[in-house]
Amino acid sequence: MGQMPFVMQLLDTLAALLLLLSFAMLAQRRIATLVELFALQGGVLCAATLLLAWRTGDDNLVLSAALTLGVKVLALPWLLRRMIRRLDVYWDTDPLLHIPGTMLVGVLIVVFSFGLAQPISALASTATRSAIGIAVAVILLAFLTMITRRKAMSQVIGFLSMENGLFFGAMSATYGMPMIVELGVALDVLVAMLVLGVFFFQIREQFDSLDLERLESHQGGR
Amino acid sequence: MRPIDWLTQVLEVVAALAVAPLFQGWVNQCRAWLQNRRAPPLWQTYRAIRKLFHKDAVIATNASPLFRVAPYVVFATMLTAAAVIPSMGTRLPFSPAADAIALVGLFATARMFLALAAMDVGTPFGTLGARREMMVGFLAEPALLMVIFVAALISSTTALPAISERLATGPLVLSPSLAFTGVAFTMVLLAENGRLPIDNPATHLELTMIHEAMLLEYSARHLALMEFASALKLMNYACIGFALFVPWGTATSAAGPFALAAAIPALAVKLVVAGAALALIETASAKLRVFRAPEFLATAFLFAVLGMLVHLLLGA
């Protein structure tokens, strides 16, 4: 097939960028930066969607790009920033597993998810199917982020970037889910965020910190 | 059933009644001789009983009716036992009513009433005696049962007359199993009749006595009945021994009136010999501590069991 069209190359670049960002988040300890990275990821996602929409001429994708822009680039980061300011949690304490180790695990996960993606890409009919592996990787890396963080805030951001991964996966594999589903998903994410906001303040007023160590009282055999 | 059988039956019971005290007297006499004492007259036991019957009965204020019924029950059971045991003839009209196991049951009944009566007044001696009696009983009874069981295995029935008839009429074989059981039976007999080395009928030392301790609260005719019953018991045991181990001389079912006539002296001879032997054993052996009694009886029990094993092994 030879030289693939420039758009596709661009798309793949964007996908790689997503992965890079996930790694960055994995490595990042400053929560404020984490939020920016998350916003950036949303942006990249949005860009990729738009690109794809332009290439396929599928206006559903435009809509979902708009959705991404609205929710993941503007709304959520704005909410998060406000919270950070209100709760002044700027730094996460050291992650449970030190950064290089985390990175190493992350690499392994990437390998695993690429392997996992083979059959799926083989099946998918989209131009971007090769990116599915990256989507899986993003999801699992987000998972890893959540595992290694100690602050509730950074855990949530990990959760949200997992949503990004899912979204990217859906887009790259099938040019997006049916509209109704996407709307539902977006709505859920937004609500989730609001709920979390409430939570943070409640936790804060109870524990006057967002350290997860405080949240380990429930044990099996007390 | 022939009239002669009824005659045998009646004769046996009457004989038991008449001879039992005499037998006890005979044993005591032999003992006295062996111990170089002047022996009491042969009918001493009759005298004692007669004397007791002439006295006023004194009963403890807090004695219950059970206390007063017990002597009669014990006496009656011994009498019934005498009716079951083929001491003269093996064709007894009463024998189908109760086999050897029932006989053991009879002795158990007597023992139980004796013990309960002893506990009734609530004296320390009474309960002590009852406890020791039962302690002896819980090993003596199974031992006796095993002895009978072996004989039953040999003759494949538990009806005592049938057993003794089979043993008598069968070809004369020395069966080692019977030797074991014979020893066991002797030990049981000693224990059950309050003889040395388990109990000493001649003493009233609380540390040692068993049978006497139970009778302490009895007097007059109740005591007489109890003494009589114990004499009967000794007699019965002796007769069981004869039936199992020296069954010869008793009138078998085939035999006629002459056999019965011959059976009476035969029984007399057996009793004389047995009494002497008993006395000999008693004088030869020393009183055991009460705690040793279970071991003595356990030995008896095991001998009986061994006898059975030997029988099953050799089929003899």
Partner: protein, 486 residues
């Protein structure tokens, strides 16, 4: 029409109660809306019973015996729970444990929760089902932390994060399913996520992808089902939320989650022509049953205790569905029914018990039978029923499950029996110490409503002695629908 009513009534209720939820009559309003929902559910199930399966709104919604009976069950338990929560929440308010604002939130979210579950049950669109499940989590997460105590917040947080992450896996699974489906049902296939369409073509779906998809779906919805080792949110959430919520979580949400798992299993098994999805469920089931029953041994908190027992029973249901086949499926459906009835009844009684002693600690609850026989005997009988003592329905289903297991997987039977024994020893020791003995408990400001308890237990008793024919045929149809097994 009735479906529309079924879905709209709770939503309307949610809005109304969000507005007057703190009012004096709010509990009655709540009960009234639940009653309406139940009526609609009855109508719907009646239609299914008479006309059989049906789809609505160009196949976006559908009912078949499987979800119809779950709808009826959900609506029924929702109703009884609302009846129970009437005095319960009044007492809580009287004890100043919950603020008026909290009360409003509670009532609104209660209705919303019921609504989302009904949506998840009736929708034909797997994507929509996912949305509804997530919504169900979100609507309860604030209820779990309603009391604002540290423990409650912690529980809520864990509930949120663990279920959220789990659900995310489910979403990816759904996407994969969609990929495979789209291949068969055409690009942007309208029905590419509609279960009925997928079911029709399940034979042609690409096996590899579907197997991967199933793993994600199993992990995702399995988290909400509380399968070990994804269960850790469950005891906390059950223990810390208000008791009516524990009741519906345990009695209904778990059912809905396993319903989702089973729906997916049907598709995957259809495409794979092999039984390993079933085997996966069996594995999860056995692990859950064993771990949960041993964990029971050390519980000190009455609601945690029964939360673990819920894990055990969900494991059993998963095991049964894993075995598949008409009998096992029948048993599983029966078990879902009796479990949600019994468990909610137990939570009702336990809730009042905790209120009486002013603490959920088992050591502080004593002599219930003496101070209030209804609560005490309700708890005692409920516990016996849940422990699978005849003549209650739980025994009926366990009997069927065990006998089927003896046939299909003999090696599993001893494990199950051992777990049952341990669970019995653990739960019964605690229940006995709570129900019997001398008491130090107080009287309550409002008289507890134990009608629901005894209605539930009565039903369970009936199901143990006599399963009505229409119900039997209904289950049978659902069981055939699920199929699987050998």
């Amino acid at each position: 029409m009735d479906l529309f009513a079924l879905l709209v009534t709770p939503l309307a209720g949610a809005f109304v109660l969000a507005w007057i939820g703190a009012g004096r009559r709010a509990p009655e309003v709540n009960a009234a809306f639940s009653l309406g929902t139940f009526a609609a559910a009855c109508a719907l199930s009646w239609r299914v019973a008479t006309h059989g399966e049906a789809t609505f709104a160009n196949a976006q919604f559908f009912v078949d015996p499987f979800n119809a009976f779950l709808v009826a069950l959900t609506a029924f338990v929702g109703l009884t729970t609302s009846l129970f929560s009437r005095p319960y929440m009044r007492i809580e308010a009287a004890d100043r444990r919950v603020t008026p604002g909290g009360l409003r939130l509670y009532h609104a979210m209660y209705q919303l929760f019921i609504g989302t579950m009904l949506l998840a049950l009736t929708t034909n669109n797997l994507g929509l089902m996912w949305v509804a499940m997530e919504a169900a989590t979100l609507s309860t997460v604030l209820l779990v932390s309603l009391y604002r105590t540290p423990a409650a917040l912690e529980a809520g947080w864990k509930y949120f994060i663990l279920c959220g992450v789990g659900i995310a896996q489910a979403l990816f699974g759904t996407i994969l399913l969609y990929i495979a489906a789209e291949r068969v049902l055409g690009a942007q296939g309208v029905g590419a996520l509609l279960w009925t369409h997928l079911d029709a073509v399940k034979g042609e779906l690409e096996p590899r992808v579907l197997s991967i998809a199933f793993v994600f779906l199993l992990v995702g919805y399995g988290t909400k089902t509380g399968l070990v080792p994804l269960h850790n949110w469950l005891p906390d959430a059950h223990a810390e939320g208000p008791t009516p919520i524990s009741a519906v979580l345990s009695g209904l949400l778990l059912n809905v989650a396993i319903y989702a798992v089973v729906r997916c299993k049907v598709l995957v098994e259809g495409s794979l022509h092999s039984a390993w999805p079933g085997r996966m469920l069996i594995g999860f089931g056995l692990v859950s049953v064993t771990v949960a029953s041993f964990s029971l041994w050390r519980q000190r908190d009455i609601k945690r205790l029964f939360a673990f027992s819920s894990i055990e029973h969900m494991g059993l249901v998963a095991f049964a569905f894993g075995m598949g086949g008409p009998v096992a499926n029948f048993a599983a459906l029966l078990h879902m029914t009796v479990h949600s009835l019994t468990k909610s009844a137990i939570f009702f009684a336990a809730g009042h018990a905790a209120q009486k002693s002013g603490s959920q600690s088992i050591d502080r609850i004593r002599g219930l039978a003496t101070v209030s026989p209804t609560v005490g005997w309700g708890l005692m009988i409920g516990a016996l029923a849940i422990l699978g003592v005849p003549p209650f329905g739980v025994f009926a289903s366990e009997f069927l499950i065990l006998t089927t297991a003896m046939r299909d997987h003999p090696w599993a039977t001893p494990i199950l029996l051992l777990s049952f024994a341990v669970a019995f020893a653990a739960i019964f020791a605690r229940v006995q110490s709570m129900v019997f003995g001398d008491t130090t408990l107080r009287r309550l400001p409002h008289s507890p409503a134990l009608l629901p308890v005894f209605v539930h237990l009565g039903l369970v008793l009936m199901l143990g002695l006599f399963i009505p024919p229409f119900l039997a045929t209904w289950y049978g149809a659902a069981a055939r629908l699920i199929g699987g097994g050998g």
